[in-house]
Structure formats: C-alpha cells, structure tokens
Amino acid sequence: MMTPRERILAVYNGQKPDRVPYMLDLSHYYLHKFQLPWELGSGYPKADTGLMDFNRKMGAAFYCPQQAHFWNVEYANDVKSSSATRVVNGVPEIYWRFDTPIGSIERIRVWEPSSYSWAIKKWGITNEKDLEVLTYAMASRRYTPIPQNYEEWANYIGEDGLVYMNTAYSAIGYLMNYWMGVENTIYASYDFEDELQECVTQINNNILEMVEMMASEFSAPVIIMGDNFSSDVQSPSFFDCWSKDYYKKAYDIIHSHGKKVAVHVDGKLKGAIKMMKDIGVDCIDAVTPGSVGGCTPAEARAEAGNDLILSGGIPNELWYDYSPMSSFENAVKEWLALKDISPALIAAAGDQVPIGALEERILRMGELVEEYGYY
C-alpha cells in the first residue's frame, strides 16, 4: 500500500497510484473550530503541528502550510514596510504600510467574526501616484530563504502529506486582492496603462526572484502559484495582456529545477484550465465544480485533457447540513469517477474546507475515497 505522500508524488510524476490521493486544506476550518487567532499580518514562526495533527485525525493528507514563514523579507533603507494588528472601536484590524521618499500607502483589513476572516476595509492604492509608491517599494524587496523552517513542516508530516510551497500573488493578483481591488485594477489598465505596466513588471520580476529562490533553495517538490485565479475576472484577453508572460516564466523556472507546479484556480474554470495548460502548468488546484467553478467535473477534465492534474472536487456548500448528505456523497463519487479517464487526479475540497463544515462529512469523504478511489 502506498503512503499519502507517495500517492501525491506518483500523480505528479505521471504515474498511477494505488488509489486517488486525498488531501484537504483544513486550515481555516481548524482555526475557527478551535477559535485560534489568525495572524494574517505576521505568519507563524514555527511549524503548525496542531494543524498537521488535525489533518491526521481527519484522515486527509496535509499539503497547505498556511501562514508559514519560509523566508525573511527586506527592503532598501529608504523604504519602510510596517504592519501591525490594532483594535479600533473594539474591532481588530491589520494595516500594511509602505513609507518611501516618493510617498506612503496603507491598506487595512478588518476582522469579520461571522466569516472568521479579514475583510478589506481600505484599499491602499487609488491613483497613479500610489501605484508609483508601490512600484518603488517593490523594486528593492529582497528575500532570504529559511529552508530549515520548510524542513520542520515536512519532517513533522512525514509520509502523511506533502508540503507545497506557496508563491506570493502575481502582480495582477496582488493588486486585485490586496492593494487596489478588482474594479480599480481593471480601470487602471485603461486609465493609466503605462504606470500599471511598470508596476506589474516590477512586482512580477520581484516574485520571479522569489520563485527562483523557492525552486533552488528548498526541497519542496511542488510549488503552488497562490493567485485566486478565476477566468471571469482575469478573462482570456486580460490574462494574455497582463499575466501570461509572468506565469510562463514562473513555470519554466520551476521546471528547470526539476520541480512541479500547481496553480490555484478557485473561481470560474472554463477557459482558465486551458490558459494554464497551454503554458505548461502541471496541476490545477482548488477545482470547484458547480456554480462557483461554472462547470461539471467531466467538463473540467475535457478542457484539461488527460495529462493535466485536477485537484479539488467538492464545492463549499456541500459540507453543510442544508445540502443533503446524498448530494455530498454523489459529488465525491462523481469526482472519483474521473479516475477512469485519467490518473491525473487528486480528491480535495474546492478551495478549503469551509468553517463550520460538518465533521462527519470530512470523515465520510475519507471513507468514500477508500471505497471508490482504488485503481
């Protein structure tokens, strides 16, 4: 019998494992269940052994070291980067701030207890001038790897998983999700295209340095591109214009070090799978069939062809009791049935297991994989 790690590696190496690998990102679920603080601003210096033990307890392989601290970041002397958590009118919030000789920018996220997450309170960039500040700051960002921190995670989980390494967002992802928002980033692509282009190039070059560091300095066999990618937001023409080149370069760097690369597509799948496949990605992560992803498992497989790994399968709403257990079970079985077409398949949650999910369904998924997942 293969171990969970061996199964995942087999799939990445184009081989057929004994059964479909089954892994879950339980990080958000775990924080909420045990009401643990979510240090979005700083990350955790130590390997999260509690989370990894929880994955073991739930019988699902571990792969997602959320908030891990794998490198230190430094800026030039004239760039001050600061971030802290503070409480304003009783509500915790985190700010991230850059002070540079050409100006300052600050973005704020605020704690939202019902979704147990940090929602955006204030975007940091609203005009060309702000964008130039970010470009300036990013130009001098440098990384120092801490490979022993990765080893700590990897050693702790051993054969019970495979610790992926997460890159920062691409420039467009970074702007859309952190600094500007989707709408303003899109407007900027029309209103001040040159400034945006300069900023995007700067950030992407910087992230490519990070990718090079990850691929060369760490033992992680799989690197995942962290953007919350969705084909409705980054449409094919927008992707071609703003992101394609960067993704292709990142994939090439990772492959040149003999490593594999996954990309996190947590939204609309149609078109996105093909865009990523065409430039050489090995795995589409977070595949969410149904209304979020906008296609069925079979349609996703058809767009992917037979070699591209599809990892995911179970949409968020099926983890709750307002969806019948039979719907949940059918979704797991429908996903596992893809194994008859190709072994390039991993069973996981569409993105993360959501907070407040029914624990019995997490355990049930493990049973179903045992029952229906063997080749």
Partner: protein, 209 residues
C-alpha cells in the same frame, strides 16, 4: 448625430469619447431620453448579451458600464427636467458578514442599464436594512448578493424579514452570487435567482412591469 456612435463607444468602453459624444448630442438638441435609450443603454445591452454568452468577461463589462454611467450622469438634469422617471426601483446589497461586492456592483450597473433606479446599500447589509429601505423607498425589488456559504443563509432571513414587515407581497426578492443556486433560492422562498448580472437585469425589468 447617429446614436449608434455612442452605443459603439460604450461597447468599446471609451469613457472620454462617450462623454464627448453625449455632449455633442446634447448640443445638437437631441433629447436626453433618446441619447440615453438609443445610445448608452443600447450599447450596454449589447455588452450584456455578450456577457451572458461568455463572449466578454468582467473586465470588459466593468469598463463599458463605467462609460455608460458617466454618460448617463451628464443627462440626469435634463431627464429630471423633462419629468422622465425610472422604469422601476430596486435596492441592492451584499448580505451581512460578506464583503464581496464585485458581482453586486455588476448587477447594479446592469439594472441601471435597463433604466431601473438602484439604491446601493453596500456590503455587510442586515436583513432589516434591506426591508426597511424597500419599504421606505417603495422598491419593487430587493437584490441580495452573497459569495460565502456562511452568509448565504442571511438571504433566507431577508425573506422572513420582508414577511414580518408585511411587504412580502409587494416586493420581489432576487438572490445571486457564485455559490447560490436555483435550488437554494427555492429553499429559502426567494423569488428569483440568475447566475449572471445581465440575466438578472432582464428579469428585473419583467418584475417592474
């Protein structure tokens, strides 16, 4: 001047050109209603159809909608003067606990592109606020957006709050957002679900008739 020119530039998302053309049309004495309906809204209708058919995506829709909105703002005064009224009135918001607002904003723009007046309640909106607004402002439609499975259930509370406030029969409740489905819409007793903003606007028009 041919209104098709304005429509074309709305489709192309050229805000500056749209504004210049709207000004030119006004200068030529073309009625604001004609500019709005045959120029701006006609252009946006084409974009809406293409969006439904997956020929254009969020970036293109946002850019066109912005051009349309900017052009429409220039006509507001004239439309008021000539006593033009909206086709209907809706209030829209992202439900309590949820701050995803891109889809909600698109729905708002598409409803406006069909000549419906929309009151935007923003994000993190409580059921009481939806219902109170609908009641006070005589809205025919309440539009709720939710992107999280943890907040979707608030839509059911909006339906209940509308019943409790005695306005359930006079208001249509529309729901949407990535994880929402037709089945969920039925389950909570809302009136309509659509998977995209353009279809939402088409349906909203029928609710206003």
């Amino acid at each position: 001047m041919d209104m098709k020119e304005i429509a074309l530039e709305v489709i192309n998302g050229k805000t500056k050109i749209v504004k210049a053309l709207v000004q030119q049309a006004l200068d030529e004495g073309i009625p604001a209603k004609t500019i709005l309906e045959e120029g701006l809204l006609a252009g946006m209708a084409v974009v809406g159809e293409k969006f439904k058919n997956n020929e254009v995506f969020v970036p293109e829709v946002l850019i066109s909608a912005r051009a349309m909105t900017m052009g429409a703002a220039m006509l507001k005064e004239k439309l008021n003067e000539s006593g033009e009224t909206a086709k209907g009135k809706a209030c829209i918001g992202t439900v309590q606990g949820d701050l995803h607002d891109i889809g909600k904003n698109l729905v708002k723009m598409m409803l406006e592109s069909k000549g419906i007046e929309v009151i935007d309640l923003g994000t993190d909106v409580s059921p009481e606020t939806f219902v109170q607004t609908a009641k006070e402002q005589n809205c025919q439609i309440i539009c709720c957006s939710a992107l999280l499975t943890t907040t979707m259930t608030v839509m059911g509370d909006v339906v209940k709050a509308a019943e409790a406030a005695g306005i359930r029969d006079s208001v249509k409740i529309m729901v949407g957002g990535a994880p929402v489905t037709e089945a969920f819409c039925k389950q909570i007793g809302a009136d309509a679900y659509t998977s995209d903003a353009a279809s939402a606007a088409d349906l909203a028009v029928t609710f206003c008739q």
